[in-house]
Symmetry: C2
Subunit: 376 residues, 2 copies
């Protein structure tokens, strides 16, 4: 597989690194945050707004999109980029997570996953080959292999079976992907939970298949934080430097910083966008629950330190009013802020690695502890 | 009252005119469409988007805003413009329409209106003086007098009583307004339905009070179109040329064109924004119901002739997908289109009057008949 990721800078004091990923729709600078756009839109934003905030790549959901509008429609419209009019890179997930979390009657066999559509209950059988075919046909830039993971808490035994299936499916995905022209990326997903031996075996099996990128799957679902960080540390020692690493679905700034420190390049999470719609805003001084009555006459912006459209123009008082009235502009303005906040942190992370100041940036951000309620 | 409206051009073939209104927050070129922003936001847009589409002035609802967040909060925040961070002109309606349409237990006396809040049932008594005080305190640019109108169908007798009350309240509003510095505008509202004598008496009584602008109230609620147009024609003969005329709440393009032809300067309506959220789009070839399955793979923009962000970037297929998925970006993109469509027609109306081509513009727009379903 041709080399399309290179490390452009390394932090002297940690495994944090800057990288550049080449895709059919342009380059992505890493570490990168991928806003979630499951149905082909970042919720409550236009593409122009998402791009203006600094989104380099968005994550779409091949499970949702294959149910509606269906791969035939997407193909007929010229592929995902043409269909949704997004010119930049797209990563699609295989749908594994949605199948296990949304579908009733999931039945896993060596062959694949049988499940009922969460929409109409119709039976669907998805093999790893199908997941590859669907994503290739959709024209995504980065495909993810179909994987399997048990829910938390898990036993070593159930996790062993997950790794066995995930490995076998990765082999079949890789073989299927070889039928195509290889312009797209196919990334492998490791499983194994927090079990050292299982995670190592999962990663080594993927490495033998030579994917153009590797993901940590099945993390951030309840396991102790220290164990998770150990997984990333051991993974860093195993993964080759010239392939991107993606920690799936984890979105708290504190966790992201720990992961970047351990060599992770790609992130996605619904946290900034979903919380925005729920009225929970991230600021440099902590979380703000905008519905709180204490903001009813607060003339300050959400975050004095923030340069986003929302903070440059609107008071907390007005944002609270919009939220309380159920106005869609509440979701728009809040999403603009939260996503800018995240993407700005990623800009600062990238710059800090270039200037060997990542650890001090990390300390300043974790000290502010944006996951806690705002300090007075 | 100082002169703050002047006619800048007159159509040679009709009563259509260009005007310029001066307000404390800038000028408005007429004929003008005022997007409805009842709660202080055009629904599903940011202010930046509304301004980029060409909104010169927006309409806020003093009834809704006096209930929540309340005039005290708005005053404490420095008035409406500061509270909502909208720098351009604002017109507020007095709340009469909302009281009669939303509130249970409305009881009208000479003194004013007693009604129950549609939110919590609490009893409120609103006199014409209160409506003036509220709007002055909110810092709006244009206040509307509290008026009274019966619902359609009405009898001449009930309408006579409406005119009597509306006239008496206009006198009291005018007297109350004289207490203030007069930088804001207070516009009088005429009633009288389609009854020639009553409408004339209502208008003449307002003229004697010398308002800085005049509105047609109680129209577009079910009366025959020809009768409505007669009201506007007779009104044109009565109103002085140097005061703006406002036809309240009427929004079909065809009606707007007929009214402009009869000398009307200001319009407002929820039609473009509400229909956008419901998936009904106005185009130069007719209405498009975007949920229709026939658009599922339609690669065309909503309107080939339209220059808005939505039409320049997105297919009907994608817009249908967003609508069907219930994505907020559906409401955003649809509102951008419908509001651009309206504001662009107003730009063309203004230019056509300057160039004495209003009647041919009107014919071309009515020929297209945007109120009908799209032609194939």
């Amino acid at each position: 597989m041709s080399q399309r990721f290179r490390t452009t800078a390394r932090d002297a004091a940690s495994a944090a690194r800057n990288g550049l990923l080449e895709t059919p729709h342009g380059m992505v600078e890493t570490p990168a945050f991928m806003p979630v756009a499951s149905q082909g839109t970042v919720k409550a934003l236009t593409h122009a707004l998402a791009e203006s905030l600094g989104a380099q790549i968005i994550l779409l959901n091949s499970y949702h999109l294959s149910l509606r509008p269906g791969v035939e429609t997407i193909e007929a419209m010229g592929g995902l980029h043409a269909y949704i009019s997004w010119p930049k890179p797209i990563l699609t997930d295989s749908g594994g997570f949605q199948i296990y979390s949304l579908s009733p009657l999931v039945k896993v066999s060596d062959e694949g996953v049988r499940f009922a559509s969460h929409l109409d209950g119709s039976k669907i059988f998805l093999r790893p080959e199908d997941a590859v075919d669907l994503q290739v046909r959709m024209g995504t830039d980065i495909l993810m292999c179909l994987d399997h993971f048990p829910s938390y808490p898990y036993t070593e035994e159930t996790m062993r079976e997950s790794v066995r299936l995930t490995t076998a499916w990765a082999e079949r995905s890789r073989a299927r992907f070889a039928r195509y022209d290889g312009r797209q990326h196919l990334w492998g997903i490791s499983q194994g939970g927090i079990f050292e031996d299982l995670r190592r075996r999962s990663i080594e099996a993927l490495l033998a298949l030579d994917f153009s990128g590797y993901a940590y799957g099945g993390l951030g679902i309840g396991e102790p934080k220290t164990r998770l960080l150990e997984v990333l540390e051991r993974g860093h020692a195993l993964f080759p430097e010239d392939r991107p690493r993606y920690l799936m679905g984890m979105g708290y700034v504190e966790d992201i910083l720990e992961a970047v420190e351990r060599g992770v390049d790609f992130f996605d999470c619904v946290l900034p966008t979903r919380n925005a719609r729920n009225g929970t805003l991230f600021t440099s001084r902590g979380r703000v629950a905008i519905k709180n009555v204490r903001y009813a006459r607060d003339p300050r912006p959400l975050d004095e330190a923030c340069g986003c459209y929302t903070c440059r123009n609107f008071s907390r008082a007005y944002l609270r009013h919009l939220f309380e009235r159920g106005e869609m502009s509440s979701a728009i303005l809040n999403t603009i802020h939260n996503l800018y906040y995240y993407l700005d942190i990623f800009r600062r992370i990238r710059h800090s690695i270039q200037s060997n100041s990542f650890i001090s940036l990390k300390k300043s951000l974790i000290f502010n502890d944006t996951d806690k309620e705002e300090t007075k």
